[in-house]
Symmetry: C2
Subunit: 287 residues, 2 copies
Amino acid sequence: MKTSIDCIPCFVRQTLEATRFVSVYPSVHEGVLREILRCLAGLDLDQSPPVVGQMIHRKLRELTGNPDPYRNAKEHHNRLALEMLPELREQVKNSPDPLKASACLAITGNVVDLGAKHGLTENEVIANITRTLSEPFHIDIERLRKAIDRASSILYLADNAGEIVFDRLLIEELPAGRVTVAVRGGPVINDATVDDARAAGLNEIVRVIDNGSDAPGTILDDCGLEFQRRFNKADLIIAKGQGNYETLSDEKKNIFFLFRIKCGVVASHTGFKMGTNVLTGTSKTPG
Amino acid sequence: MKTSIDCIPCFVRQTLEATRFVSVYPSVHEGVLREILRCLAGLDLDQSPPVVGQMIHRKLRELTGNPDPYRNAKEHHNRLALEMLPELREQVKNSPDPLKASACLAITGNVVDLGAKHGLTENEVIANITRTLSEPFHIDIERLRKAIDRASSILYLADNAGEIVFDRLLIEELPAGRVTVAVRGGPVINDATVDDARAAGLNEIVRVIDNGSDAPGTILDDCGLEFQRRFNKADLIIAKGQGNYETLSDEKKNIFFLFRIKCGVVASHTGFKMGTNVLTGTSKTPG
């Protein structure tokens, strides 16, 4: 999807929040903000919104000299989620529809959006999950089930650290041996990289690759050739999070998006209300 | 007060809202937004926030070719407020402290902030007033009363159209013959100009002047010489609205500000909580 001018005020707010997260120096906050305002003034709105996220966080890493400012937060979120994993796995196993239960929890992991929050406690995470599970879901599980049955090659695009532990529940329900999980090629916000996939233990159960890009989404032109090849070859792509939706919604592939509608622009693009937890496919699975 | 970098996301949001209010053309929305982003990138943060409001709305008038895009809204707000005036005046007369009652209603007029809302109905305005009167007030009425008793020359700085009708209630409680009301020198947002002062009937009871500036506040350097002279000569200045606070809070004059704290930056600058309705003086009135 393209960027809306309604994204611009949000980019500016996100820039300020992010720069304060990664640096205590007001001169850095001001410098980053001014540079991003200049970039936004000339922004190509035909690009998808994560292009700006990539730009903001490259600038933050450059100006702070910190190649991975969210590293500690990501590790904290992985640890919290891992502590909850055995109980959540039990929930899935005891569910009448483990695929659906695990898909809902995977979306919930996206909702928790450990994002820019420093000291999130386990209780807060549990409260978020409980609240989210009581909110509207739009889950097209039968179409996904059929697509999984037919697919010989499934590419699972992860989103954030912490959340990637929740993804494991859904990945465990997919046919072993046919799944590849892709993470970001480099640190950007709290998005999952190979370190986080390893922390979630995914490398023990599936093949894990990185996409070669440091965008908070999947900008295909910016991804590595190996990733592009796997993307093109996959029969089924399961894409987590709004950033992956924003960058891949126009692709002519068999993609299922699992995410929460977090802003008005995506709400209007999808036709779902803000706050809806969605599992939806772009292209029709034949039959 | 100076501009905070926290004002920047708010300026961007306001730009988008205002440009949509004054034009239906997406090309105008995008053009104004890009130009304001460029200006914000190089903004002198030592200036007060209304400098940006002035810049945004000059640009909007230039690009739309409309010298007063909020004219209809202002007339609508004046009419609504005038319909309520007799009943509100009755309330003030029957109050045990008419000065305090009229001051509270004058602040309430600022709260109603008919701002960018097109089709505000009388019922909505009444609901806003009722809600506001039930919210926290911090009214330093005894200091104001003393200052009024001592002043031989009072300058009353109005804020918005519609609100200026509420101001009339307070102005009627001030000593006749010693009051001058100043409005903006040219249209900016829904701020009151001489047309609105006339609509409120203020020219029949006090001297009305304009300040020679089209800023949504009182940027002294930008005001006309006649206004500057009156400002310097006045013993007491009563300034309505957050814009007048933002531009005059550092002046070494006997100024009483009547406004609602509408944003976190001003809340932190004043020490009052967001949403507080305030009547407060900058300089101490001796004794």
